[in-house]
């Protein structure tokens, strides 16, 4: 199967010297004789322009309630020695190898697919919010419409059909690369081998499957914010009633 996206992905990867075998869109269901994939994502922050196309594509693909997102791209202004610098950091579920959200679930609603994507059985979930508390990446939320825990699934409905996740498919800068971490010839692994990558919040020992190229050290762990949008909203008169 070849799509415009896979063609473009292939063209870009080919320019970067990636093997041709790594260029095809992932086939989630392993063919007979093939090993089960281990999905992962690489986000090249040098290419992300913070356009939020991934945010919108995800919301549309997964029919999310207004204002709730499985992925989004926070924008920061960093105070660097050379002056203010803008940084973007696309965030989504990290589909950790050791996800803290999974063991806390009291009804076994959170589980891993064969390919390692962490997903929620919305019919089983009681909406207790314990997994939302446990996730160190703030990647989960209680869906307003279903009353159950919601999160990125790596678009399991698409990857099982051999398609890319919606955020990857739509990324105009080709900043998001999705593929099989077990396959050393995948574009993902080739890029990871060629660049220094980082994961978010390594101090939690969760071993995320989302890797970043070009991640600023100040954004890797808990971000120390010194103001900005949140502070402006906190001081807004209409909502300034935090007193107890």
């Amino acid at each position: 199967m070849t799509s415009r996206r896979t063609f473009l992905t292939g063209a870009i990867a080919a320019l970067a010297g990636a093997p041709a075998a790594a260029l095809a869109a992932p086939a989630a269901a392993a063919a007979p004789g093939q090993a089960t994939p281990r999905w992962g994502m690489l986000i090249d922050l040098r290419k992300c322009i913070g356009c939020q196309a991934c945010t919108v594509a995800c919301a549309q693909e997964n029919a999310l309630p207004e204002g709730q997102h499985r992925t989004h791209v926070p924008v920061y202004e960093l105070d660097t020695p050379s002056g203010p610098s803008q940084a973007v950091l696309p965030r989504l579920c990290n589909h950790c190898d050791d996800p803290p959200c999974m063991p806390v679930c009291p009804v076994d609603a959170t589980f891993k697919t064969a390919a390692g994507a962490v997903v929620v059985d919305a019919d089983q979930c009681v909406g207790c919010g314990y997994c939302v508390q446990a996730c160190p990446y703030e990647a989960r939320f209680i869906n307003h419409e279903t009353g159950t825990a919601d999160k990125c699934t790596f678009c399991v409905q698409r990857t099982e059909a051999g398609l890319l996740p919606a955020c990857v498919e739509t990324c105009v800068g080709n900043a998001r690369v999705f593929g099989d971490l077990n396959d050393p010839t995948s574009a993902l692994r080739v890029l990871m081998a060629a660049h220094e990558t980082k994961q978010l919040r390594p101090e939690f020992g969760t071993n995320p499957r989302v890797h970043y190229i070009g991640l600023d050290d100040s954004l890797q762990s808990a971000v120390r914010t010194g103001g900005g949008a949140r502070q402006l909203r906190q001081s807004a008169p209409a909502r300034s009633h935090q007193e107890v």
Binding site: P74, V104, P106, V107, A109, C125, V126, C128, Q133, G226
Partner: protein
């Protein structure tokens, strides 16, 4: 290096004010129940008020818990799963066992059936009550993503304030019944100890210091340390036989336990873990909070009425006195 967030999204607190009331009611219930068990163990004969308080609070506790679930009608899923890795799953079994044993003990005690069953029920109440204290503190303390909960001090103060709230509720019941009871000593000791631990926590933990000094100085320093811990300890020490003094000490102890839960539950949840989301505000006068307060208070009043009817109307006249 600091960052300024230019674009972030809004999130809601997953645990709403209902959770604060659940943890208050069930903690206070266990605190009162353990007081009743102690009274029975020492044969002091002053444990009836504690048992009444424990029963009313235990009967009321499940409502706010269910209301905090976003899919409350699915609560049976807890019992159809086998999620032994989850502290909350263990709690879902401990809760009915504890409530069932407290209610059974109340019935047996009210009907003055001093039998071996009563002794067994006291043991069960003590055992399951300690289990409840363990699960409520444990399920929050293990959440490494919440720095305010993932500390040594948090479960200690949560447990201490559960005990003082239970003793405080007992003091209120005993004040109405005109009895002295055992609550004052627990309120004095528990509140004083809680004050010391809270002080050390604020001095040694940067996350707690930030909450106390930057976000909620009035509520934590004035409200919790002052009104919620120092005042009940002082009142309990000086109250003597004064019914009003003891009732005020009890009320202040319950207030302290509530404020600790309110501040630590909402304060922790409002702190973004990744600084990529805005969690809004929590207010005692917000509609969500008032709804939870009204619902919890309503079911508690009904539970108190039921307990009073059980112990005063249904109890046989002139029967044998129990130790409780």
């Amino acid at each position: 290096m600091t960052a300024i967030d230019i674009l972030s999204i809004d999130h809601d607190m997953p645990w709403r004010p209902w959770a604060v009331f659940y943890f208050l009611l069930i903690g206070a219930s266990v605190g009162a129940a353990l007081l009743a068990v102690y009274a029975r163990w020492t044969k002091s004969g002053e444990g009836r008020g504690a048992l009444m308080a424990a029963t009313a609070l235990a009967v009321a506790a499940p409502l706010p818990l269910l209301a905090d679930l976003h899919q409350p009608a699915r609560f049976l899923h807890f019992y159809l799963s086998f999620a032994t890795d989850s502290v909350m799953w263990w709690g879902s079994w401990l809760l009915p066992l504890y409530i069932g044993s407290v209610v059974a003990l109340a019935v047996v005690s009210a009907l003055r059936l001093r039998t071996r069953l009563e002794t067994l029920l006291y043991a069960a109440v003590g055992l399951f009550g300690i289990g409840i204290l363990g699960y409520t503190a444990g399920e929050m303390t293990i959440v490494a993503a919440r720095p305010l909960w993932h500390t040594v001090a948090f479960p200690v103060v949560l447990t201490l304030t559960a005990l003082t709230a239970g003793a405080g509720a007992t003091l209120l019941f005993d004040a109405v019944r005109g009895e002295k009871g055992l609550g004052c000593r627990v309120v004095a000791a528990g509140s004083a100890l809680g004050l010391v631990v809270m002080g050390l926590w604020m001095l040694t933990d940067p996350a707690m210091a930030t909450l106390a000094l930057e976000h909620e100085p009035l509520a934590l320093l004035g409200g919790l340390l002052g009104l919620g811990l120092a005042v009940p300890a002082a009142l309990a020490l000086v109250a003597g036989r004064s019914r009003t003094g003891r009732a005020l000490a009890g009320l202040a102890a319950v207030f302290g336990a509530f404020l600790f839960r309110w501040e630590l539950f909402t304060g922790a949840q409002l702190m973004s873990k990744t600084e990529s989301a805005f969690f809004g505000h929590a207010s005692l006068t917000a509609a969500d909070t008032l709804r939870a307060a009204a619902g919890s208070a309503g079911v508690l009043v009904l539970a108190i009425l039921a307990v009073i009817i059980l112990f005063t109307v249904l109890a046989p006249r002139g029967g044998r006195q129990t130790h409780a």
